[in-house]
Each structure stands twice: as C-alpha cells, then as structure tokens.
C-alpha cells in the first residue's frame, strides 16, 4: 500500500511545486487551526504574486500576516481582514487587492470547488456591493446571486491527527475552513500534530478522507491565542 503513503519528511518537500502567481486555499479561522508551518515555509520560499483564499489574513507577524512582510501576496479572498495593520497599509497603498467575500459564501465556494460544482446561487449578498456584476435570479420569491466556486493550485490545511494514507481528523473549532480547503487544492498539503498508522483512526470519525490529500507532514505548533478570555 506504499502508493497511499502521503507522508513527507520536510517542509521543503511539503510545499514543493509552489510557484509565483499561484492560488493557495488555506484553512483556519482567525489564528485557530491555521497551517502555521506551511505558511512559514511559503515565506521561506519567497514565492510572489500569490492569491490567498482564507477567511482571515492572520495578524502582524503571525499566520498569513508574515507573507505580507515581503509582499508575497497579490490578492486576498477573505471575509474579514480587520486584525492586521500591515494588511490595511498595503491595501490603502494599492499594493494588495482584496476580494471581500461573505463567510458562508467563502466556505461554500471552497466546498463547491472541491466538489466539482462550478457555481451556485445564494441569497447572501444580494443588493450589496458583493452582488456587483453578478447574475441575479429569483428562486421561490427570493433574489439570489450567482457565485463562482474556488479551487487552488495548492491547499494548505491544519489537522490534528492523520494516518499515513492522509485520512485527517480536526480538533475542536480548529476544524473551521480546513475540511473545505482540503478538497479544493490541486495539491493538498496537511500538517498535523500526530501521524498514526492506517486503522488507528475510526473510519467513521474521519473528517477529511485521504483521497483529497496529497501530502501529510508532522509539525509542532505555537497555536497563538487571539483573544484570551477566561471566567473568574
């Protein structure tokens, strides 16, 4: 079954083939469940003119924010980018393009992209700036806009555990966009906290089946917390 072994042993190998101008779909919500080492590898590689599809763009100095430091990002497709001063600076200077996309539409664009559905109609965004230039049709009395799905040259994903065949499970709310991102990459790379033998994960509990996954790498994670809130 060596043909199903997805494990790679270095981050160079994990991101091999990434080139200037490519589209990268990334999992994560805020700083939760982000593929932090794969992002750092893209920074190390210095790949430019990237289109990044991710709900957020990290913060200054962590997560996707590090790719802004050397101006590696040409375009961001995100629902919320408010936590990042460098992002705002580059956006206002016209050095960075952003396509603000409603969060549910973004998730669905990834899901549809991975599922081979080129576009879908949704009521979300009708009558708003998001609808500009998009086809409108009425279904059951509701006006809907046509949204095109998204795929990437690469998808970068943060899992909790994977087996060597690339079956992945996520931990708590670090799941978020990761399962959809995993389906939407021509090459999908998953970094995880633990790699186990096939059969160790309950087949009924797999979130991302290995068919979507090309490469698995074992990482260690900082897991920075954005808003540390506690009860007394």
């Amino acid at each position: 079954m060596a043909g199903f072994n997805k494990v790679v042993n270095s981050y160079e190998e994990a991101m091999a083939g990434l080139e200037d101008g490519m589209t990268v779909v990334a999992g994560g919500f805020g700083l939760c469940g982000i593929p932090e080492n794969l992002i750092n590898q893209i920074k190390t590689m210095g790949t430019k003119d990237l289109t990044i599809v991710s709900n957020n763009c990290g913060v200054d100095g962590f997560g996707l924010g590090v790719l802004l430091e050397d101006r590696q990002v040409k375009k961001m497709v995100s629902s919320y980018v408010g936590e990042n001063a460098l992002f705002m600076q580059q956006l206002l200077a016209g050095e960075l393009e952003v396509v603000l996309t409603p969060q549910g539409t973004l998730a669905e664009k990834m899901r549809a992209g991975g599922a081979g559905i080129p576009a879908f109609f949704t009521a979300t965004g009708y009558g708003t700036p998001v609808a500009e230039g998009k086809e409108v049709r009425e279904f059951n009395g509701r006006k809907c806009i046509l949204e095109e799905s998204i795929t990437g040259d690469f998808a970068i994903v943060k899992g909790w555990k994977a087996d060597r065949y690339g079956n992945v499970i996520y931990r708590h709310t670090a799941q978020n966009f990761n399962p959809m991102a995993a389906t939407a990459g021509k090459i999908t790379v998953v970094e995880v906290e633990e790699i186990v033998e096939p059969g160790e994960l309950d087949p009924a509990h797999i979130h991302t089946p290995g068919i979507y996954v090309n490469r698995v790498i074992l990482g260690t994670f900082e897991k920075r917390i954005e808003q540390r809130t506690v009860r007394k």
Partner: protein, 218 residues
C-alpha cells in the same frame, strides 16, 4: 433615559424561547447570553463551527483550539456539536437558526441594513453578517438610535453599503423597540422615561406611532 448596553441585552433576551438556537453577533448581542430568562434553554451558535457555546474557560481549561466567532477562547456546553464552516453556514443560510441578533450602523424603512463598511474608513469585511441577515427569518438588530451628533440611524434609505436588502423586521435601539413592515417603521415600545417626541425627532424614516406606546420595564 436611554437604555444601557445591559438593558438592551435584557430586552432582547425576552424574545428568547425555550429550545431556540440563537446566533449572537459581536458586541452588545454577545451580552444577551448573560440574561437568558429562568427556565429557558437556548443553544448558542457560533459561526466558526460550534453549536452549544459554553462560558469562557477557567485558566486551566483554556484551549487554543476552542474559540468562538469573536476569536475568544470559550468552552462547549453540554450537548454541543462542532463542525466545519460549510456546515455552520448551512445552518445559517438554510434558515435553521431560530433567532439572530446583530449590530448595525444604519437600517431603513425597507428593512435594509448597513453594518460592515464605512467607505473611506478602515475596511475590515463582513465576516458572516451577510449570510446571517440573508439566511435568518427572525433577526433583531441592536444599535444606537442616533449618532453622537444626533443624526438618525433609522433612515428612509441607508447611505452606507448594504449588508443585506429587505431582511430586517425588528430593531432595538437605546431609545425604542421598532418593527419594520410595508416600508415603514412602527414604534412598539419606548425606553423608560424617553418620550415619543424624542424618538420621532431622532427617526428620519417614516414611522407609524400608535396612540399608546408602552414603556419598557426593567
């Protein structure tokens, strides 16, 4: 007196029903969770992928993998479920959430809402707000009635880019509880000690004022 943030949350909480699945936006809406009436069970949906949000963790319980849509560390309540963003927005866009509470900059008599962008100022993004207003039937908008300079935020037509078109039916401001129907505001309740005249003077859009407008009681 205008309602405090807490009073706004208390008034919204009176709209909760036993067994409701509820999505609370960031800011005042989040406070509603503190005032769920006795004997009522609600389950809070957090759009990053958690149904059944619990209280903030203790220091010992903090887990970077367990956050809410405001990116705050939280816990899962008993009976919670955790899922992907696509699943989460299937709940929202599919109309499965019983009540959504969110803030706004402006609403108008057509039920339009502007809440995510002020052109020329920092552009942050809509997050899940467009999905929430388009997907939910039962939405309560919480907002201040007028700006600090006294300019009405309840308008004939929103001036800011819209978050959603024709989707808002209930608005709770610091001065009044207002419904929107057939292209007009309808004044339903007023904050304690706030006169109908004051509310009318601070409402730019057309508003029906019934003969009797009850005062909210706290």
């Amino acid at each position: 007196m205008a309602l405090t943030r807490e009073q706004i949350a208390i008034r919204v909480a009176r709209e909760l029903k036993d067994g409701y699945y509820v999505n609370l936006g960031i800011g005042i809406p989040t406070l509603v969770a503190n005032y769920v009436p006795e004997g009522i069970d609600v389950m809070l949906q957090s759009e990053n992928g958690l149904l059944g949000m619990g209280p903030f963790p203790t220091e010992d319980e903090i887990d970077a993998d367990m956050i809410n849509a405001g990116k705050q560390t939280v816990t899962a309540a008993t009976g919670a479920s955790i899922f992907s963003s696509a699943e989460s927005f299937a709940m929202i866009r599919g109309g499965h959430v019983d009540l959504t509470v969110l803030g706004a900059f402006e609403v108008d008599i057509e039920g339009n809402i502007a809440s995510y962008m002020i052109p020329g100022k920092l552009i942050k993004g809509m997050g899940g707000a467009m999905d929430l207003v388009a997907g939910a039937d039962n939405i309560i908008v919480t907002m201040t009635h007028a700006s600090k300079h006294g300019e009405s935020k309840l308008l004939t037509k929103c001036t800011l880019p819209l978050t959603g078109a024709g989707c808002i039916k209930k608005v709770l401001t610091d001065l009044a509880f207002i419904e929107i129907e057939n292209g007009t505001f309808i004044l339903k309740e007023r904050a304690p000690g706030v006169s109908v005249e004051e509310i009318v003077s601070k409402t730019e859009g057309k508003m029906i004022v019934p003969d009797h407008v009850p005062e909210m009681v706290f």
